[in-house]
Subunit: 241 residues, 2 copies
């Protein structure tokens, strides 16, 4: 069965965390809104359905036959075992899901650096507040979150090469994407901070070198970061820590 | 085994979504930071641990023997089957987790109405921005989220009395808490909106009348809402829709 991923076309956004898992596993999937003849309309129709019992609030969501699963962490929890990207034992799976939810929170904070007041308004309408929020983000939130993930790697009893256990899980792939996104959006801040997080950077490098990930990153399926996504490069928000 | 819930003392906050499930099920649990002789120090010590493999990023987290589970939705996913508050079939459990994650996002937006710029600063230092963010929240976000939850109830093939299936799940308890919190923080806005969400209000009433919930709400274990929590009553943010 082909997995159907539904997400906004044209951006990496939150969908990218799911794509990385599907790509790493070489899974059979389609990005519905990018399929000629299907597109965003099909996604919106499903979201607006008045008889679908398990209607999703927002993209991304995954359809696997009759099963609809929404929210990144939920999708990855669902796909993890099927793609061979889940933690091995149950105790570690609860931990992995907690980590993924911390990543979710961090990504929401990244979004709010350019939209601190209203998602319904343009960045240009909230630039001043965005500068203040980005100051807080760069000064306090980046080190708080990255420092936590670095600790998680350092305290992994099975070695600092992975977030959970001794093998690659979807959490590792998501941490790679977090570093990629931060480097795009906050290059100055990241140059300052990176030396403090050696394990995280090593993990980023090892994920990037995984054959299926490397092939994906080099393919047209990997969209470039841009200023419609979650991670946006606005130089005025890339504050010197 | 006694469940140990770790959360900031003195507020309902995010911990309350877990408490409601534990209380409804009559589970054996302790609220660690409120136990004389234990307190917040014990929670912080665990969070600061340099050898705990499954260290949590932030409260709330739950300890069940050796298992630590963090993040509200993760804790409820873990506790659901143990407390008899999970959806019956697997397909519905994925949907329930998605709903709980939508509630998580909504609660984060409630928090940001009074802290749009910096969690490290006082509300008083971001009052102007809070007014703008609360305007967006009251005007667009309350109806978007409550409208979605109302649809979920209306489209439940087993009847609009529950979010998932034909029985009470932890999602119902959380929706009760969302309504309680919004009524506390945004009474004017809620008086305006409530008539639009009859199924949600009926669910709120039926949860409130559940014997264990009623007993809990009348007990000293249920703290009052206050201006240190997530749902805060600042009249200047309670905008007329």
């Amino acid at each position: 069965m082909t997995y159907e991923l539904y997400y906004w076309d044209g951006i990496q956004g939150r969908g990218e965390f799911v794509r990385l898992a599907l790509e790493d596993a070489g899974a059979d999937y389609v990005d519905v809104t990018r399929v000629p003849g299907r597109g965003t309309g099909e996604m919106l129709k499903l979201m607006d359905s008045t008889d679908e019992a398990h209607v999703p609030f927002a993209p991304p969501f995954l359809r696997d036959g009759d099963q609809i699963v929404s929210h990144v962490a939920n999708i990855l929890l669902y796909l993890g075992p099927k793609l061979g990207l889940a933690a091995k034992d149950e105790a570690s799976r609860w931990f992995a899901n907690g980590l993924q939810l911390t990543i979710t929170d961090f990504v929401a904070e990244v979004h709010d650096t350019h939209h601190p007041i209203a998602t319904s308004k343009y960045y240009e309408e909230q630039k001043e507040e965005a500068k203040d929020r980005a100051f807080e983000f760069v000064t306090n939130r980046i080190p708080k979150f990255l420092g936590y993930f670095e600790r998680v790697l350092a305290q992994n009893p099975e070695g600092s090469g992975h977030a959970v256990g001794s093998d690659t899980t979807y959490v590792d792939l998501s941490l790679f994407q977090v570093i990629e996104g931060l480097r795009y959006a906050f290059p100055k801040a990241m140059r300052h901070y990176e030396p403090q997080y050696p394990a995280l950077l090593k993990l980023h490098g090892s994920v990037k070198a995984r054959p299926n990930i490397a092939a994906y990153l080099a393919s047209p399926r990997r969209l470039a970061f841009n200023e419609n996504g979650i991670f946006r490069r606005y130089p005025e928000l890339d504050i010197e820590p």
